[in-house]
């Protein structure tokens, strides 16, 4: 029977949760890198034993860890995320120019077919790639130096490049998203970039048709429909069916269209999941009820999923990288909360149960299906 490995990054270390394919009984391993922020912990689709972790902290900065044995042992790899060439300025919160300054790696995206190739998204926003398992990082400078770059302003969490999608069909196509610049697409492996924000509406900026300035929180894609993208924006759940060229809102009957993560079912490309959150300042579920909302119609029509989730006095948040799906049948859905719970559904979201309840605040959740 297949196994499942859930990779959890938290404010104070990494945890690895394992189960067999029934996903009922779990082993919790960790903390790895106790005391460090693990913004992202993820595995290579080409080699499930190859893991990458972004390890950072206020004292000692940014490190990248690599495991070649599924997380039993780790090796520190390169952490030289220098900005290439003329660093230049972006806009600060107060609207004044501010030089790009590296703070941390938010997201690591391993190649679909080469365990040694991995992309890294940085704050302040930049995209890096390594082709030797993290031994050396090279900035793909065309994104940061896009003509719109000097007008990019940080979101509340910083000017972070948090989403990287390596298109499974169109060779060289990469999607990225930056808070609060927006979404970008490259069709040439990162040599050039196109802002893809047409149709987004953001009340926080004066020009609704602005090419950039939209606070995109997360984007996801089903591999069988690569031109369809789903987006959780600061406000609004959005959908594109033309590789990001145009977006339309599909928030429908959600109780709040603010949120951070968005995920798509492994076998049903029109089934998507979000976790509505109250905002702008509260950042907890409406009515204190932790509800995942599922749409089986690619948006617009949503149903609350509550079985097994706390429906009173729940004031946690679910961050943008803290939801993932497995590829088993039925599809498993996983998410982690700012309260340290990691929930799983082994039936496509119909019912939920906590795997673990008292971790540090969860920053990221990824899942691997093991042979």
């Amino acid at each position: 029977m297949s196994g499942v490995r859930v990779l959890v990054g938290t404010r104070k270390g990494a945890f690895i949760l394992t189960s067999d394919g029934r996903r009922g009984s779990w082993t919790v391993d960790g903390p790895h890198f106790g005391g460090w922020e693990i913004y992202h912990l993820t595995g290579s689709p080409a080699d499930p034993d190859r893991l990458y972790a972004s390890q950072s902290g206020g004292w000692f900065g940014q490190l990248i860890q690599r495991s070649d044995d599924g997380g039993r042992t780790w090796t520190t790899v390169d952490n030289d995320f220098a900005y290439a060439g003329d660093v230049g300025d972006h806009l600060w919160y107060d609207g004044t120019p501010r030089p790009w300054e590296f703070k941390r790696i938010w997201h690591l995206e391993p190649s679909r077919d080469d365990p040694d190739t991995v992309y890294a998204g940085a704050e302040d926003a930049a995209l890096y790639v390594s082709h030797d398992g993290g031994g050396k990082w090279t900035e793909l400078t065309a994104l940061r130096t896009h003509p719109s770059g000097p007008s990019w302003q940080p979101g509340a969490g910083g000017l972070c490049l948090h989403t990287i999608i390596l298109d499974p069909v169109h060779e060289g196509r990469i999607y990225t998203a930056i808070s609060a610049a927006g979404a970008f697409r490259s069709d040439d492996g990162g040599t050039s970039w196109l802002p893809i924000n047409k149709g987004l509406r953001s009340g926080e900026i004066p020009d609704q048709d602005s090419e950039v300035g939209h606070c995109v929180h997360h984007i996801t894609q089903h591999p069988s429909r690569p031109d369809t993208l789903y987006m959780q924006k600061h406000w609004d759940v959005m959908r594109s069916d033309d590789a990001g060229a145009n977006w339309r809102e599909v928030s429908g009957n959600l109780p709040s269209d603010f949120g951070f993560p968005i995920a798509v079912h492994a076998h049903e490309p029109e089934t998507i999941y979000v976790v509505p959150i109250k905002s702008d300042s509260e950042h907890y579920p409406p009515e204190g009820k932790l509800r995942v909302y599922r749409s089986r119609t690619g948006g617009d029509e949503w149903e609350p999923l509550t079985d097994g989730l706390p429906q009173s006095h729940c004031y946690v948040n679910v961050l943008r990288d803290a939801m993932a799906v497995d590829t088993l049948d039925p599809c498993g859905i996983y998410f982690g909360t700012s309260g340290g719970q990691v929930y799983r559904s082994a039936d496509g979201g119909d019912s939920w149960a906590p795997i673990v309840q008292h971790l540090p605040p969860v920053l990221s959740v990824e899942v691997q299906v093991l042979p």
């Binding site: 005391g35 460090w36 902290g57 206020g58 004292w59 000692f60 900065g61 940014q62 490190l63 520190t76 952490n79 030289d80 220098a82």
Partner: protein, 100 residues
């Protein structure tokens, strides 16, 4: 040999348990820069954790103490105290209280 005390997180990262001892060779006096060069050469996983990899600037929440003195804001090329050079006192790297 110069004795260097690393903070717990960096000891874990470097895979050491006690003090680190490094040799600082050169015609000039031992300095903070040369000691950290030697530490990073032996433990490359510490590159960037104590000081910036390119500018060499001390990370904001890292401090350097020795002989009951705060050397954090001394020039990295200032000669270290004689008792540190003689191995009688350690050069202490630590995380500031505000860094976590």
């Amino acid at each position: 040999m110069i004795r260097v005390v690393l903070p717990a997180h960096l000891k874990t990262l470097a895979g050491v348990t006690g003090e680190v001892r490094v040799e600082v060779a050169g015609p000039g006096p031992a300095t903070q820069r040369l000691v950290l060069d030697a530490v990073e050469a032996r433990y490359p996983m510490l590159l960037g954790t104590i000081r910036d990899r390119h500018s060499g600037k001390r990370r904001a929440f890292v401090r350097f103490y020795a002989c009951e003195e705060d050397l954090s804001n001394c020039s990295p090329d200032t000669p270290l105290p004689e008792r540190v050079v003689a191995g009688q006192e350690p050069f202490i790297v630590l995380g500031a209280m505000a860094g976590g």
